[in-house]
Amino acid sequence: MSGGVQRSLDLARRVFARKGALLSILYLAAIALVAMLARWVVPFDPVAQNLMSTLEPPSTAHWFGTDELGRDIMTRVVYGARTSLLTASGAVIIAGTIGVPVGLVAGFFGGWRDAVLMRIVDVLLSLPGILFAMALIAVLGRSQLAALVAVGITGIPSFARITRAQVLSLRKRDFVMAVEALGGSSAYNMFRTVLPNSWSPILVQIVILSSIAILLEAALAFLGVGIPPPTPSWGEMLRTGKSYLYDAPYYAVLPGIVLTLTILSLDTLGRTLAWVLEDRHELAEEAAPDRMVP
């Protein structure tokens, strides 16, 4: 196991050596920290209304200004980070725990298992991701859990496909057949040989999908079908802010910067990982179709 620790340290060293990745990690760490310690970081209540001071421009008291109900926008951005990160991690966990085993079984055994599982994945891909999520929410009703589940299910195909592609390429490598020749059972081969060699693309996909999940969650909230108010959410803030473009342009602009930087950081980190882990200089083929959340 010390080999695993050694490899992780080695990986971290190589990722930190790249400037863009280092900045991204610092930014993401800051966002995560602020989200966790929200109560001690920002002095205001994220939901309590103060109708005496609505739509105030940024000031020393309210760095990002106040919203139409007099709430501190920066406070809501900080609590919104919590919503975003929670939804994204939940969604990635759902997508990964279903998608990875599906891809593993489909790729390893092939045949009818592959055909059946991949047809199911095709069903998930038969609608643009955001519409699929909207349809699910239309059924489940609007709630934080519904948003999380919808985003998570939309992410299953990318995990399944990436894992399957990796497993298929490993199946052609002699060392997988060697384990079979040595007398290893299918289960042994799948979990002790193939899966440990598949972590790199899965890890990259976790990071990439986190950025997509954050974007998708914000988009759903922006459309008014995501997490219901008054829970603070970046997408919901942009949605309301858009109504006050003439009176309070900062309202829609400032939370957008935080959201954009979060997505950019995750994307940079994902590409750096792909570069460092797999010598892949672009996340081209696999990533492109799953990116489609316009």
């Binding site: 080999g3 060392f175 060697a178 040595l182 007398g183 440990p196």
Partner: protein
């Protein structure tokens, strides 16, 4: 002799970027004259391919070139891009290694053949098709009018390489550079391509630089030879001189480590150690750490020997070139024993492995509902036996089913029919769990040492894995057993904690062997175990396998395409063609008196590392390609390419039966030694 076409002086190529500069070529001088084939020989990393790319200016941007390359009147190192471009295609043509990738998949072959000529304005675009047809006809492509409009994937490997030759020669360049032109091809196809290359070279009078690792090809085709090692030419001279009177210890080492098809050695003499890494060259003479005559003399470690004359037209870069003569004289004649003398006693008792009528058919699915419309008969009735302690060689060209046979015996692919008995037990009908137990004493060695080891495990864990799988780790001695296995294959115990990527190809193959030995097998199935290795390393592994066999009493099923290696290591040999064994015999008999026309063609196509043999050997160049195993020919599968085929062969499948008077079994209606029958019909020489 006339003026040289190409004159290279003091050529140095260094790759910069990514750490410190790596010298790939370090001071190379040579000339090539019209109508001459210069062979450049060397192992991987010797700088031979970089030299050829430098001549045409096709090196990547990270390369820095010094010295002089004169092609005719032009100094290539100083010429600007446009002049270099003009010279490519018109003055220099290139042929590359892998015909599967050298042609653009989305353009027709015809267009690509004349594209250079059109670009240079030598012919008009309107006339291009006509010219392409003419060029394809010149390289013996059948039906050039139809083929000219086809895409590369519709051509077989051999046809593609002939099209590449046509393309390289289209502009009638004065110089052709062929970089490993036949390495990716089967031996009978290699013979076709080499003869087309030789024919076209003679027609056009071009100078040819032939870059290869294969001494046999050089002996067959080249007029002069340059041997490269560690980025320099270490010896150069006429082909006969190099093979008969080598004056550099590396050349001697190469010749001695090579298994030969024309004689049998008890034991190969490998060059110890590894070829040098260009980034970490030894001081002084780059060969000194592996040299048998340097004897650690100070000058070898401190001073790089210059390339100096050791004969009229013979040069060597060795401080003690004169002593090399003795080394070669000592080693060569006494060790070379005529093949027929060496024969081991046939193993007695019941066979360890008995395969009878083995069939492996893969379904072909087509149509709207993907229904099965036929079968690929990958293995179509193979019978063979391997006795305890015996080595049986299974040879054939790519696609003949030899690997599938090995994998089916191992149980990695399901057999469609036939029986496989290992140690008296029928294994084809066992459940997966029983099969895993039964084949504990049968193990498999893979061809590609780079992909057969799990990259994320330490090599110690890799070798221990079979013991863990079978729950025998403690029982068989634990860590002590692993150390013992590493020592058995010649690796120190200190490497146990390292990862596969830290090892060279030869060392990885040793680790693969150690893993296979962990469960104390009695039979090893070796699938091309040395095909991916350099000649000098190949000899080390072959010797190791022979030592292990003696020490542990192992039986080997040795699967390979290289007839020389198979001859060296086997007791008995079986030849496969299109899923069937066509001839099987004692080694000596099979190589001395083959009776099946395919075996005869195959043996005659193998290039022999002896320039004298060029005149005396008769060569049978087989026409056409190996047929598609999904649509095998009727009757005898070999009849469309056979020089003895008659009407009977077209309709009646020959039985695999003993040939009278020899310990041979063969499947041919007209079996018989070459002298007796071969001259009757069109065996071309």
């Amino acid at each position: 002799m006339s003026e040289p076409v190409l004159s290279v002086r003091g050529l140095e190529v260094t790759f910069i970027g990514g750490g410190r500069p790596v010298p790939a070529v370090r001071g190379v001088d040579f000339d090539v004259y019209p109508n001459e084939v210069l062979g450049i020989v060397g192992e991987s990393g010797s700088g031979k391919s970089v030299t050829s790319l430098a001549i045409t200016g096709l090196l990547p941007d990270t390369a820095r070139v010094k010295g002089s390359i004169r092609l005719g009147d032009v100094e290539m190192t100083e010429a600007d891009r446009e002049i270099l471009r003009q010279m490519r295609g018109q003055d220099v043509g290139m042929i590359f290694q892998d015909p599967a990738t050298t042609l653009n998949p989305v353009f027709t072959v015809g267009r690509q053949v004349t594209e250079g000529q059109v670009a240079h304005g030598q012919i008009q675009a309107l006339r291009a098709r006509e010219r392409s047809i003419e060029l394809l006809r010149e390289v013996d492509i059948p039906d050039p009018d139809g083929r000219v409009l086809q895409y590369p994937h519709q051509f077989s490997g051999g046809m593609r390489q002939r099209a590449v030759i046509a393309m390289a020669m289209a502009g009638r360049p004065r110089l052709i550079i062929a970089d490993e032109p036949t390495t990716a091809l089967d031996v009978t196809v290699q013979a076709q391509v080499l003869s087309v290359l030789a024919k076209r070279q003679a027609d056009t009078g071009a100078a040819v630089i032939l870059i290869t690792h294969d001494l046999g090809v050089v002996a067959e085709v080249a007029h002069r030879v340059a041997v490269m090692y560690g980025g320099r030419i270490v010896e150069t001279g006429p082909v006969a001189e190099i093979f008969k009177r080598p004056r550099h210890p590396y050349t001697v080492g190469l010749l001695q480590s090579l298994p030969r098809i024309d004689s049998v050695d008890e034991r190969l003499v490998p060059i110890p150690g590894q070829p040098p890494n260009p980034a970490l060259l030894p001081t002084g003479c780059t060969f000194h750490p592996r040299c048998p005559i340097g004897c650690d003399r100070a000058i070898c470690r401190s001073e790089e020997p210059p390339l100096r004359a050791v004969g009229e037209v013979h040069h060597s870069a060795c401080h003690y070139a004169e002593e090399v003569a003795r080394l070669f004289a000592d080693a060569m004649p006494s060790d070379r024993i005529p093949a027929s003398v060496v024969a081991r006693a046939a193993a007695a008792g019941p066979p360890l492995l008995a395969v009878d009528g083995l069939k492996v058919h893969f379904p072909i699915k087509a149509g709207i509902l993907r229904r099965r419309v036929g079968w690929v008969r990958a293995v179509d009735g193979v019978s063979l036996t391997v006795g305890p302690g015996e080595t049986v060689g299974l040879v054939g060209e790519s696609g003949c089913g030899k690997t599938t046979t090995g994998r089916a015996i191992m149980g990695l692919i399901k057999a469609t029919g036939g029986s496989i008995r290992f140690d008296g037990q029928e294994v084809t009908r066992l459940s997966p769990g029983e099969l895993r137990k039964a084949r504990r004493h049968m193990q498999y060695i893979f061809q590609d040492p780079y992909s057969s080891l799990n990259p994320i495990k330490t090599v110690g864990d890799i070798v221990a894995e079979p013991l863990h799988i079978h729950g025998l780790y403690e029982e068989m001695g634990g860590g002590a057993r692993i150390t013992e296995l590493f020592e058995l294959v010649g690796l120190p115990r200190t490497v146990l904690g390292r990862y596969p990527r830290e090892f060279s190809g030869g060392q990885k193959q040793r680790i693969g062997i150690a893993r296979a030995l962990a469960l104390q097998p009695r039979l090893l199935i070796l699938d091309e175990p040395v095909a991916a290795l350099d000649v000098s390393i190949q000899a080390q592994i072959i010797n190791l396998l022979q030592d292990l066999q003696k020490e542990l009493g192992l039986a080997y099923l040795f699967i390979a395409h290289d007839l020389s290696v198979v001859r060296h290591i086997s007791d008995r040999v079986a030849v496969m063609y299109l899923g069937r064994i066509v001839e099987e015999s004692e080694k000596a008999t099979l190589y001395e008196t083959p009776v099946h026309p395919y075996t005869q063609s195959l043996l005659s196509a193998v290039p022999v590392p002896d320039p004298d043999a060029r005149q005396t050997r008769r060569r049978i160049v087989l026409e056409g390609d190996i047929p598609n195993p999904a649509k095998p020919p009727s009757g005898c599968y070999f009849h469309p390419r056979c020089f003895r085929a008659t009407e009977r062969c077209r309709v009646e499948e020959p039985a695999f039966e003993p040939y009278p008077g020899l310990p041979t079994r063969s499947a041919c209606h007209h079996a018989g030694p070459l002298e007796a029958v071969g001259s009757r019909r069109g065996a071309s020489s």
